[in-house]
């Protein structure tokens, strides 16, 4: 692999070896750009991945570690945020980022998603806005991402999906028992089930083998490279150019600014906790919807006293998640849901309900099972079930292979008060300010989640589940993945952080490409994050060649 000296001024410094950064790398290096990628976590390969539930779900082997990186939470800014012992925010922390451990749902946005303000008008308490780009602007890049990474699905099977210029490169994965049950039940209800859209290979593709159905997708790295992570795909391509260096265990603490107001590179802690300054002509931040604003806010300077790219105070605001409740059903015969990918059937019938239903929001619903033996025994039994003893043991034993979930994926309205900021007291183990999360649902978000849950229950009833129960909806529930909106994209430099091509309004050689660019939330952001990255890469490479960065 190529190694650059820190004093060598590379063309691009990318912070975050994440799911979207890679599409970037793939595009630019062949044109001769030199690129260094800083990733805070390790560089793990397929040989490192194991079927080990404790390691990945309990000990956070591939995600942010709360022991080293605590974060604090409060519902509103009038409260003092407290350190959380359960993760409020989870993100991939190794080369390839979230694309390595994600479930691999790969949903495009709808055309109307880009126009939520126009669609609904103002909604009280929100900062709804239209995106400055349209579905048509992004469509070629959705297609490109699906083709380059390898996505399985069936074009046209979802009658509600947006138009597409090409079919999916691979057919859907085989349906599981949960998918068959879901398909029969939703059809009975007059709904429109379709095969799940997955960034997992149903057939061999571009030198990689097909999914072997081992079942370890969600929270795990794929040992056979069938999951189309950036690690298994574009990162290899980028490295082979000989001009892209991936630098793992490099934890960025500050992006530096020169006297002319342009960024000059970034300071990071290496594996030995020594500080290194890497010089660069331009910096692209791809550190996800929580770490990106944190890094910008930590990058204070005399020129940018409120944090980098934050002259309007918008960095970190409008934090959005993808929330939703689960419904569970037990069936007579074995489903053996531990085998194969986590989900095989989806509906989008409630993606865009009429606001007359009493809320602004919507989402998808899928049939799935994303538990493994220990997490199943710990969590998803009915609330009236015993929690230990022979009765409990018998119930776990009976239910494990007979249970499926129907999961709602709800949108979340943008609110300026929901934010990522720096905690004034708590530090991480490098001495940097901990991330502080301020978040509370909009009433419509909760209504959306409950509306979807009612539909989920109807589906399991129609399916004839022997026993049926749901998550407790009275418990204040916070999602922790799919972090969006914190450096929103817009034409207006007063109300947004990046322009429609991901260049920050404040600094001409600083770009942000990740979930933080989202203007409104969606249920499965990875596909859109990667499409945005391909689009940004095209633009940035063009600009760089014209020397206008």
């Amino acid at each position: 692999m190529k190694h650059y000296r820190p004093s060598e001024e590379v063309d691009f410094l990318i912070i975050g070896g994440a799911r979207q950064a890679a599409s970037w790398r793939k595009n630019s290096p062949p044109r001769g750009f030199s690129v260094v990628v800083l990733e805070q976590g390790p560089y793990l390969r397929e040989k490192d991945f194991q079927h080990d539930e404790i390691k990945y779900t309990r000990l956070a082997a591939m995600t942010n570690n709360l022991k080293c990186q605590p974060h604090t939470y409060r519902k509103s800014k009038t409260e003092t945020a407290g350190v959380q012992d359960q993760g409020m925010i989870e993100y991939g922390r190794q080369v390839g980022g979230g694309s390595v451990h994600f479930t691999a749902n790969y949903w495009r946005l709808w055309e109307s998603d880009f126009k939520q303000k126009s669609k609904w008008g103002g909604v009280a308490g929100t900062s709804l806005a239209d995106w400055p780009i349209t579905y048509a602007d992004l469509e070629p890049y959705y297609t490109k991402a699906e083709e380059e990474l390898g996505v399985s699905g069936l074009a046209g099977a979802n009658p509600f999906e947006a138009w597409r210029s090409k079919p999916y490169p691979l057919p859907p994965l085989p349906v599981k028992s949960s998918g068959v049950i879901f398909e029969c039940a939703t059809r009975k209800l007059g709904l429109h089930p379709f095969p799940a859209l997955m960034a997992i290979l149903s057939q061999p593709y571009r030198g990689r083998g097909a999914c072997a159905h081992c079942g370890f997708c969600a929270s795990f790295g794929c040992k056979v490279r069938a999951k189309s992570s950036t690690l298994a795909t574009v990162i290899q391509v980028a490295e082979r150019t000989g001009r892209c260096e991936i630098r793992p265990e490099s934890y960025t603490r500050k992006i530096e600014v020169g006297r002319n107001g342009r960024v000059t590179g970034a300071v990071y802690f290496d594996a030995g906790r020594c500080q290194v300054f890497q010089k660069a002509k331009a910096v692209i931040v791809c550190a996800n919807g929580s770490e990106t604003p944190r890094l910008l806010l930590m990058s204070r300077s005399s020129r940018f006293p409120q944090g980098l790219a934050n002259s309007n105070g918008m960095v970190g605001k409008h934090l959005m998640f993808d929330a939703g409740f689960s419904a569970y059903g037990v069936f007579e015969h074995p489903l053996n849901e531990f085998k194969s990918v986590q989900t095989t059937r989806v509906i989008h019938d409630f993606y865009e309900p009429d606001p007359k239903c009493g809320f602004h929001g919507g989402g998808g619903i899928d049939a799935r099972f994303d538990f493994y033996p220990a997490s199943f025994a710990l969590f998803p039994l009915p609330q009236d079930a015993p929690r230990w003893s022979s009765d409990w043991k018998a119930m776990v034993s009976r239910n494990f292979n007979h249970t499926m979930m129907v999961l709602g994926h709800a949108t979340c309205l943008p609110q300026e008060r929901n934010s990522i900021t720096l905690d004034p007291q708590v530090k991480d183990s490098w001495g940097l300010p901990a991330m502080r999360i301020t978040f509370d649902y909009h009433p419509d978000d909760v209504r959306t989640m409950k509306f979807l849950l009612e539909r989920q229950v109807e589906i399991l009833q129609a399916a004839g589940a022997q026993k049926l129960w749901t998550d407790q909806t009275d418990v204040y529930y916070l999602p922790h993945r799919h972090l969006m909106g914190t450096c929103r994209m817009g034409d207006d430099a007063k109300t947004s952080v990046v322009d429609p091509h991901h260049r920050t309004h404040d600094v001409s050689n600083l770009f942000i490409v990740d979930g933080s660019s989202f203007v409104t939330a969606c249920c499965q952001p990875t596909c859109t994050i990667q499409a945005l990255a391909y689009r940004a890469a095209d633009h940035i490479a063009r600009e760089a060649r014209k020397a206008v960065i």
Binding site: N65, S177, A212, E337, A374, W388
Partner: protein
């Protein structure tokens, strides 16, 4: 005493876990368990002493009883717990220590003539656990027992794959459809 030295080294390594990457910490936990399992000598405990281990195991064995199929005892859950407290959950030792003390007080209160949790009759053990089942200690022992029973055997528990056999889980690298009853074309009317 090579095993003992290894434990010691890893224990020291793990105590600076906040300065290590999490990955290294986890590898240490597994190396520790592997080493202990390879050892021909009787398993020894690191975080717990023999009496504590016996008491905790008695609790774990009521959480997951060996009632006709292997339970916490048969699956070696106590070895998982000891290793967890030696490695990635060493910061939870105090919860065990104080929790066990309080449980002993509760035992003495409920069963004044008794000497230990392990020596109580099963019905008495159940009564005792019902009295403490809302405590942080019980919740932690329950979580650890489940992780030890159903988690990967490389951490010292789930011996003979007792937990996985109980629920019908198979850890394989390849499966072929049909996966279950309802996606099997042999069942032409898959609707349950």
């Amino acid at each position: 005493m090579p095993d003992r030295q290894l434990s010691r080294r890893l224990w020291l390594g793990a105590s600076s876990a906040l300065l290590a990457t999490n990955w290294a910490e986890i590898l240490a936990a597994q190396a520790h368990a592997h080493e202990a399992m390879r050892s021909a000598a009787p398993a020894t405990f690191s975080a717990l002493d023999a009496k504590e281990a016996k008491e905790i195991e008695a609790i774990a064995s009521q959480i997951i009883p060996g009632d006709g199929s292997p339970g916490a005892h048969e699956a070696g859950v106590i070895y998982f717990i000891d290793r967890a407290l030696t490695t990635f959950d060493q910061d939870k030792r105090a919860i065990y220590k104080h929790g066990l003390e309080e449980t002993q007080s509760k035992r003495a209160e409920l069963f004044p003539d008794s000497k230990s949790i392990a020596a109580l009759r099963p019905e008495a053990q159940v009564r005792l656990l019902q009295a403490i089942e809302k405590t942080e200690f019980f919740e932690l022992v329950r979580t650890h027992s489940i992780l030890g029973f159903f988690g990967n055997p490389s951490y010292g528990g789930n011996r003979e794959l007792a937990g996985w056999k109980l629920i019908g889980f198979e850890d394989r690298f390849q499966f072929e459809p049909p996966f279950g009853y309802y996606d099997d074309p042999a069942h032409t009317e898959p609707q349950p």
